[in-house]
């Protein structure tokens, strides 16, 4: 049976996903071609939250997001890292192509401060990408952040990245994209746990320098 063609104005809606084709999602390339191929929109969704499950610092989470930071900052957009577990090391960021003049770090220890900061940053039209390290984030908090990320929808929206501990893997999440990271021999194993408008269950091994 031939598939019924939907009216054009419906097809152009971003919030409508036609099952037979990948959803048109505004996204920023991750900079890892093997991962991009698995993601709807071929990258980090813009104006949405992505969750990265990180069992311990240094499994490749910064290597995974550094190409995004480089791309954004070189385009003159600000990026922010909120409550990182260690010092994002300026010489290495610079060597990876990040324009340090557009790169900001916010130190905060209280969960309430971190959430508030992320919300503020996500709402700001001048910010292109925000990565926040947040251990505790129940569904209510996630929805708040998701709303904040959607806030600048017309301007393209910021890429919001939440870096969560392993315990968060079992918790429900409203994030548009969820990845689980694991260090392997040559780099990082990335498993797609959830992908709005895309496929789940795939894994990809990224080689990082």
């Amino acid at each position: 049976m031939p598939s019924r063609i939907l009216p054009e104005h419906l097809l152009q809606r971003r919030d409508l996903w036609v099952g037979t084709r990948p959803a048109a999602i505004a996204a920023e390339p991750t900079g890892h071609a093997a991962l991009d191929r698995l993601l709807p929109g071929n990258g980090w969704p813009r104006g949405a939250l992505s969750e990265l499950i990180v069992p311990r610092p240094g499994v490749g989470e910064l290597g995974l997001i550094v190409p995004l930071l480089a791309r954004m900052t070189q385009a003159g957009r600000r990026v922010a890292l909120v409550a990182p577990p260690h010092i994002p090391y300026a010489p290495a960021l610079r060597a990876a192509g990040v324009d340090l003049a557009q790169c900001w770090v916010v130190d905060a220890s209280q969960a309430a401060d971190i959430i508030w900061t992320l919300e503020q940053l996500l709402r700001c039209p001048a910010v292109g990408a925000v990565a926040g390290w947040l251990a505790m984030a129940d569904e209510r908090v996630q929805r708040r952040l998701q709303l904040a990320a959607e806030h600048n929808g017309d301007a393209g929206g910021a890429v919001g990245l939440l870096l969560r501990p392993l315990a968060a893997r079992q918790q429900p999440s409203v994030a548009a994209l969820r990845l689980a990271l694991q260090a392997d021999a040559h780099g990082t194993q990335v498993e797609i746990l959830k992908s709005r408008g895309g496929r789940v269950g795939h894994s990809v091994s990224l080689v990082m320098p």
Partner: protein, 481 residues
């Protein structure tokens, strides 16, 4: 067309309840309207006589003797007039009126005698702005909308002379737009609308003058002989036949605002409500002067004490008072005020005239820059100045010193061996699980200061480790990705 007027056209905005509205009072909730304790009147005093000039009780009129009112409503709150608060409120409305025109006169007439009420108004010459607003109706609509955002009740009157506009308010006349029709429109009005001194008014009434027209029939000479020289002049000014020079209101060059609270408040959340009003006034002031401010001092004090100062600074000057209010809220969220307050003060001394035409503000990049600067201010206000920083470079070989918060972001890259993306704040003791192999990078530096190092760095699969050559211990110093 009335757009091509030669003379002025005055809009008089009367504030009939200013003595009450200028005070910090909780507004009566609808459900409490019949409870006496929720009501309040403000009285004027002359000698031993006290009478009501403003109030929010539906059954108490202005001009009633305070004693009789108190006898009827024993729970009523009564307060004396606060002239300073009234003057400050009138100035604030004057600033607000700048959005209509920059030709503004403040009118603050005292009661003419016992049991009279003051006449307080802001008069605006709207003739130059009629075209801009698209005619009188549109402008009046704008004026009403402007006042609707305020706590003040208001009445409007329009006439070609300032005094006639005031009369138009008191007599609730529809706008009089031309001088030709002015005399005909005013003639039928009763004498009282003139607000002439009571002896003159009584003399005229006693000699059979009921309306303004009856007085206008006399020539100037006989009026001057009976009442005094100033009266024919007042009539000439009323009808636009003599110039009526008044000092224009201009906002003061420095901003000072004091606000007495109804009671002592120790919950800062509760202070935000009156502050909101004061910040709005401040914004109207900035807009009236067409300047921006980068610093505003808020002071919380008990009556006539020095108080606690909160200096709010923004990264870039702004004319948006919301920016300051948000900063204050963030500040108090993190560090609440230490003492209760019964008095609020706002102070700003330095202002910046915007360097570029306003149209540039719509430039996307600049708008983003403004949004970002405001965000930086908010983050710093809540988290502290140190919490927000930029990773920068520093010319030093020691790994822990080759970066610096807010260091150089533009320095040319030096060809270093690869460096890890994460650096630990403090190297941690580390135990090799097997033989550590690979080429070592020897970093030996800093002999000239207090933190010399002598280390061999190795690249492990995920970590960057070194052996201290002085004691032989191993340390973890960085994570590669």
């Amino acid at each position: 067309m009335s757009d091509l007027r030669s003379g002025p056209l005055w809009l008089c905005i009367e504030l009939p309840a200013l003595p009450l509205e200028a005070l910090a009072l909780p507004r009566a909730a609808p459900g409490e309207a019949d409870r006496d304790g929720a009501h309040c009147v403000v009285y004027a005093q002359h000698g031993a006589r006290r009478w009501v000039v403003a109030g929010n009780h539906p059954k108490i009129g202005t001009g009633e003797a305070l004693g009789s009112v108190q006898a009827r409503y024993p729970d009523l709150r009564v307060l004396p007039r606060d002239r300073a608060a009234e003057a400050a409120a009138l100035q604030a409305i004057g600033c607000l009126a700048y959005t209509l025109s920059d030709r503004i006169v403040l009118i603050d007439d005292a009661p003419r005698g016992w049991f009279d009420r003051p006449f307080q108004a802001v008069a605006v010459d709207i003739a130059p702005s009629l075209k801009l607003f698209g005619g009188l109706d549109a402008l009046l609509e704008r004026a009403s909308a402007l006042m609707a955002t305020q706590v003040y009740r208001h009445r409007l009157g329009v006439a070609p002379t300032l005094e006639a506009a005031a009369v138009a308010v008191r007599a609730a006349l529809t706008p009089v737009t031309t001088l030709d029709t002015l005399e005909a429109r005013l003639s039928p009005l009763p004498l009282g609308v003139l607000r002439w001194p009571l002896p003159a008014q009584e003399l005229l009434a006693g000699t059979g003058h009921a309306s303004l027209g009856d007085v206008l029939r006399h020539d100037a000479k006989s009026l001057a002989a009976r009442l005094g020289r100033e009266f024919p002049l007042a009539l000439a000014r009323l009808l636009g036949r003599a110039p009526d020079p008044r000092p224009w209101f201009t906002p003061p060059s420095r901003y000072r605002r004091r606000w007495d609270l109804d009671a002592e408040i120790d919950d800062w959340q509760a202070l935000l409500f009156p502050l909101r009003r004061l910040f709005d006034e401040f914004e109207a002031y900035l807009r009236a002067r067409q300047v921006m401010a980068a610093q505003l001092t808020v002071t919380l004090a008990r009556r006539r004490t020095e108080g606690e100062h909160f200096v709010l600074r923004t990264t870039s000057p702004t004319h948006d008072a919301d920016v300051f209010l948000r900063l204050l809220r963030e500040r108090w969220n993190a560090h609440p005020p230490t003492a209760a307050a019964s008095e609020l003060r706002l102070r700003a001394d330095q202002f910046i005239t915007p360097p570029s035409p306003q149209t540039q503000l719509f430039d996307d990049g600049q708008q983003q820059g403004e949004a970002w600067n405001a965000l930086v201010d908010r983050l710093r206000a809540r988290l502290g100045d140190e919490a927000l920083w930029q990773p920068g470079l520093h010319a030093d070989h020691r790994p822990e010193r080759s970066w610096m918060p807010n260091g150089d972001t533009q320095a040319p890259t030096t060809p270093l061996p690869p460096r890890p993306l994460w650096l630990l704040r403090r190297p941690q003791r580390w135990t090799p699980r097997g033989p550590v192999s690979g080429p070592a990078e020897r970093i030996s530096s800093g002999w000239w200061d207090d933190a010399p190092i002598d280390r061999d760095y190795y690249r492990e699969p995920t970590s960057w480790v070194y052996q201290d050559r002085r004691d032989g211990h191993w340390y973890l110093h960085g994570l590669w990705r």
